[in-house]
Amino acid sequence: MTKVINDPSDFKEDMIAGMVRAYRRYFQRVPNATGVMVPSAPRAGKVSVINGGGSGHYPVFAGLVGQGMMDAAVIGDVFTSPSNEQAYRVAKAVASDAGVLFSYGYYNGDVMNFDMASMRLEDDGIHVETVLVTDDVASAPPTEHHERRGIAGGFFVYKALGASSARGDNLATVKAMGEHANAHTRTFGVAFDGCTLPGKSEPLFTVDAGKMELGLGIHGEPGIEVGDIATAQELAKIMSTRVLADPPDGASSDVAVIVNSLGRTSDEELFVLYKDVAGELEQAGLNVHETHVGRLTTSLDMDGCSLSLFWLDDELKPLLEAPADCPAYTRIGS
């Protein structure tokens, strides 16, 4: 549960205030809105890329705001989509002549609010496009890929969008790159224990002893199935199998990998997991181009982890390898 807290109803504002003070070198607060933006935005001719959603998932979303990544993030309350008003204000603050691209995980509330904001922005003469992250293979069958939830694989989509817009691609191209990246991303996660909303003392779900939840949500939703607790080796097999079950069309054998902790799971455990994941991927004939291990999309103090695969091709590789500098991710260009 949340221990470092003042009045729970101030949690979001306190968090944003601290974040902005800590990371002045990357971003500033959007005046009069619950969001952060790079000081260099808007830049003429550059599409402004904005992500956003509920908080509780750091470094998603604000931790990805910086050069080569997002121009701004809209910050909602914990696990709650920001209102259309806030999405509208943040976008207004950074919108350039090249347009605005919204990107966020596919959730009903976010879609409603960002779509309402998009309509208002279009009314103001601003071009807006949206790329939804839909990487969670557990949440819908392959035929309904576009109906899947967005979880940790979003990192790859945001990275592609940031790099595409940074090199000066136009709005249609940035959107195409983001959709292509999303189409090439798959994630599967498991949970060992639930998380607790700030100010509350009971977790949103609990997991019975000896069990784990398969197909996790990142807002304290329970898993989609319940399974027996497994060894790290078995877990690596389960997760790899699920992620590999539904590769993108025309997939190459080059992949980038994220082994993600939802919060409480330690990096040490992620490494133990990756040892066998690497073996599974190799056996499946894949060539791992690079791996990121750590907390890339969290759910407060949830105990759990996920595996994301990003199938690379000639379009996506340079976007992944492009330089970036934001609080959660810095990359020196190759």
Binding site: D77, T80, S81, N108, A140, L197, L204, G217, H219, G220
Partner: protein, 206 residues
């Protein structure tokens, strides 16, 4: 309907929902993200504040303004959906004709927009399952004064709410967890009923 009645409505709704915050959160946690209680209270606090700080003399305008504050502060699905319902109702109403016919009409437009925004309709285990039968019932009693008609329409809302327990959710975060939600009422359907019930009490004593 006077400014004061609008103020009392939002004050009373805030009181009711605050008392139910945990219940709503727990219902939402069954298959969703558990924030429905917190979000509704946050939104209603902002709406209530707007009705207190206002300088407007138009009750219908005040309803719209309160709806906008609610929507912004609540965020999430219910911020958008309940928000559009309240804003639309306020926009559609005229200060000089707030009788049952016009209120039913305004609510109905709100419901239509809600369904459009949510790409949803009755039977999908949402707040709509409370609101839709309520409005249908209200429309059959347009000859009664608002407070009587409103009260008479509550049983339909309650039945609608209870029926959500037998449904499988197809909308919102809970959609991915349809099976787990069976046997539990939808949190949005429950909060919608509490709100309608509270409005009835205010109207009766106004």
């Amino acid at each position: 309907m006077s400014i004061q009645v609008v103020q009392t409505i939002f004050e009373s709704i805030l009181e009711t929902i605050s008392a139910k915050e945990d219940e709503l959160g727990k219902l939402d946690a069954v298959a969703g993200d558990g924030d429905h209680g917190i979000g509704m209270v946050r939104g209603l606090k902002a709406a209530h504040k707007t009705t207190q700080d206002t300088s407007t003399t138009s009750p219908s305008q005040l309803i719209s303004d309160a709806g906008a504050s609610f929507s912004d502060a609540a965020g999430g699905s219910s911020g958008a959906l309940v928000g559009i319902l309240i804003i639309t109702t306020g926009n559609k109403l005229q200060d000089d004709s707030m009788d049952t016919v016009h209120v039913a009409e305004a609510l109905e437009l709100g419901l239509t927009r809600m369904c459009k925004l949510g790409k949803s309709g009755p039977g999908q285990k949402t707040m709509i399952d409370t609101l839709d039968p309520f409005i249908t019932s209200l429309k059959t009693q347009v000859d009664k004064p608002l407070s009587d008609a409103w009260q008479a329409a509550l049983p339909a809302a309650e039945d609608g709410m209870n029926a959500t327990a037998t449904m499988t959710s197809q909308k919102g975060r809970a959609a991915k967890l349809g099976e787990r939600s069976k046997g539990h009422k939808d949190p949005g359907a429950v909060s919608m009923f509490y709100m309608l019930q509270t409005v009835s009490e205010v109207l009766k004593s106004a």
